[in-house]
């Protein structure tokens, strides 16, 4: 029987077999940010240990960083202390770090690929659940807890149990105005937030091959929202072209060997998966989440669900609770939901392609007066510079949108950017949990183009007819 892509990467990283279904797995790349690393570094110090292979680590502050007036530093003392701790720890242990004022700074899951620090076939870990993003490169990438961050630092390995494998095939081609975000939301709507539990998902099919690397990152980013340990997309020419020439990419003399290795990074034709799910790309419309879990999502043309039509009492209760929190009525058309804020950013949708898509919608138009704030937060300083070189910042500013400094920002509201209680946001981020973007805040997950259109119209609209 053939091997899956997951099997191939796993097998290439087994240091030793635990004999009980677990194995010691070698970690090629460890990405570090300020929130989940301080206790791991302290653990190293308490035990007199050092990082096993310093060069495998790359660090950046992102969760706590301000997106305005950055030169003035971080106002909140506790946020500042976390960022300063990262500075001190990286200095003490010799780990490469992009500072707050470095133009390469950005969201950890944006800068890894951007720097070529994420490469096909690697194992990539980070103390952050959205590490699944890096699976877009045919890398096995997943989030870990603080003890595991310390373990990865100290040993360059993790003790892991192999997950089951799941293939999600999206057949055919999506229509215009339908993006990777819509595909990933439609998948979660279909299989549920526990649908991928215990599995590593490989995404395949024409619609996935059609996606750019940016789109594949958006797709894999939300594998964790489907409950999966990781998401994967097989390597193809797009992957290789994206990596070429990036700072951490293989040097010219190693390039050909690397490429011939990467070309083997796909599931064999006769590989078997524990579970297979198929979707038809043509059926996927732009999606809008209406509830407090990413699986609570519908096409923009649909209506908010009616709990009275749900026969399962547990599900009915969940719908009622979500509608109450979200301040929505059953059966109201999605397009009649007015919004207060727009957030375009996060590790899901803050790359150049996302900003281009949003700018294309905004160009020559004005933000609705009823929208209090529409903010665009690029994923990294380099994305920001690229967007500015293309004049996208002017497009946003002319439309009344704000153009900010890179970071996680209102994705989780650990910095100053947040929703006030009751405020409703069209957001390109990945989680619509209660309070995620600020206590009492109401999040609707959408694509960048859909968020931009909502900002112009003041309510959700189908970007295909906008």
């Amino acid at each position: 029987m053939g091997k899956t892509l997951y099997d191939k990467i796993w097998d290439a990283h087994v240091v030793s077999d635990g004999g009980d279904g677990s194995a010691l797995i070698y970690i090629d790349r460890h990405l570090v940010h300020e929130v989940t690393s301080p206790q791991a570094f302290e653990g190293l110090r308490l035990n007199g240990r050092k990082p096993w292979r310093v060069s495998a680590n790359l660090a950046v502050p992102d969760h706590n960083v301000p997106t305005l007036n950055r030169v003035q530093g971080i106002a909140d003392p506790i946020s500042r202390a976390q960022v300063e701790a990262l500075d001190a720890n990286c200095k003490e242990f010799g780990i490469t770090k992009f500072d707050l004022m470095d133009r390469r700074q950005g969201i950890v899951h944006v800068i890894g690929p951007e720097q070529g620090a994420t490469l096909p076939g690697m194992t990539v870990v980070c103390g952050d659940s959205h590490t699944s993003t890096h699976g877009a490169f045919g890398a096995l990438a997943f989030g870990i807890g603080t003890s595991e961050v310390e373990h990865a630092l100290a040993t360059q390995t993790l003790v892991l149990k192999k997950s089951k494998s799941m293939l999600i095939r999206v057949n055919g081609h999506v229509g215009p105005g339908v993006t990777a975000k819509d595909i990933t939301l439609a998948i979660i709507g279909r299989i549920g937030t526990a649908g991928g539990t215990g599995h590593v998902i490989e995404y395949a099919g024409e619609a996935i091959r059609d996606l750019s690397m940016e789109g594949r990152m958006t797709l894999c980013n939300m594998a964790i929202e489907a409950g999966a340990r990781a998401g994967l997309v097989a390597v193809d020419d797009k992957t290789i072209d994206y990596v070429k020439g990036r700072p951490f990419a293989p040097r010219p003399e190693q390039w050909d060997a690397a490429v011939s290795n990467w070309k083997t990074l796909h599931s064999d034709a006769d590989a078997e998966f524990d579970r297979v799910v198929e979707l038809d790309a043509a059926d996927i419309a732009p999606q809008v989440s209406w509830g407090t879990s990413p699986e609570m999502v519908v096409p923009v043309s649909a209506q908010v669900p009616d709990p009275a039509r749900e026969s399962d009492p547990v599900r009915r209760g969940a719908i009622e609770k979500a509608l109450a929190y979200m301040g929505l009525q059953a059966n109201m058309p999605i397009e009649t939901i007015g919004i207060d804020k727009v957030f375009i950013g996060s590790c899901t949708n803050s790359r150049i392609e996302d900003l281009r898509a949003a700018a294309a919608v905004v160009k020559g138009r004005r933000k609705a007066d009823s929208v209090k704030l529409a903010m665009v937060v690029p994923g990294s300083g380099l994305v920001k510079a690229q967007a500015e070189a293309e004049g996208l910042d002017r497009v946003f500013l002319d439309a009344g949108f704000e153009w900010r400094e890179p970071g996680c920002s209102m994705c989780l509201a650990m910095n100053a950017d947040r929703l006030e209680p009751g405020e409703r946001c069209a957001s390109t981020s990945n989680r619509n949990f209660e309070g995620r973007q600020g206590q009492g805040g109401r999040t609707h997950l959408v694509s960048p183009a859909m968020a931009a259109a909502a900002g112009i119209a003041g309510h959700f609209v189908d970007v295909r007819s906008f």
Binding site: Y26, I78, Q82, L119, T146, S147, N261
Partner: protein, 213 residues
């Protein structure tokens, strides 16, 4: 990691079930950058009458005299006994760090939440599962004599009471080995350092670009 062999100590009786990790260490303390120093905030909401944050000195706060942790008779206990489903709720490792920092070496309960249970072993704290009537016997013992010494003997897998009763408990042999020898997962993995090095040198031949930066 500190080894765990035999711990003999007074017992802190926390007569509650479903003690969740937010009760063990409330969320405002998760902004800390340390893994030590959580002891003063252990059971914060129950232990103090006024609210706390990381930047309020716990010494200036008003302890709740009704809460068992503040009872002088129980001060210095290294064993905590509680009811069912101890450690439920969020996966925060801070809950174990707080118990450890306060000075608890072992927690005895009829059942534990999964993630909390496995986090204990990563941090040298022993979770002991006893039957409900055995847990009750320990509560009764402490109620009668707060100074009673209970012994948790990990090698023998027994909890011994001063009146000679002893209760056996189960533990995964792998966990037991690590605790008795003071091996944290990292220490254990480092015993395979040669294998990691061998892997690296083989891999460096196969895929040198992975080691370039």
């Amino acid at each position: 990691m500190r080894a765990f062999n035999v711990v003999a100590s007074k017992v802190m009786p926390l007569d509650r079930s479903n003690v969740d990790t937010d009760a063990i260490i409330p969320k405002q303390y998760l902004k800390s950058i340390r893994r030590t120093g959580f002891g003063p905030f252990l059971f914060d909401d129950w232990r103090y009458l006024d609210p706390g944050t990381l930047d309020i000195d716990p010494a200036t706060r008003r302890p709740n005299p009704e809460f068992v942790l503040n009872a002088p008779a129980h001060a210095g206990s290294q064993i905590l006994v509680a009811r069912d489903n101890f450690g439920c709720g969020s996966s925060r490792e801070h809950a174990v760090w707080a118990l450890d920092d306060y000075g608890f070496r072992a927690v005895i309960a009829p059942s534990f939440a999964d993630i909390f249970f496995s986090n204990c072993f990563k941090n040298g704290v022993l979770p002991v599962v006893l039957k409900a009537d055995e847990v009750q016997a320990i509560f009764d013992l402490v109620a009668a004599d707060a100074q009673a010494q209970v012994t948790v003997d990990l090698p023998a897998q027994q909890v011994q009471l001063p009146d000679g009763r002893s209760f056996g408990f189960e533990i995964n042999p792998h966990h037991k080995h690590n605790l008795v020898n003071g091996l944290d997962e990292i220490g254990l993995t480092l015993q395979q350092a040669d294998k990691i090095k061998a892997y690296e040198s083989r891999r460096q031949q196969e895929a040198p670009w992975l080691f370039a930066n």
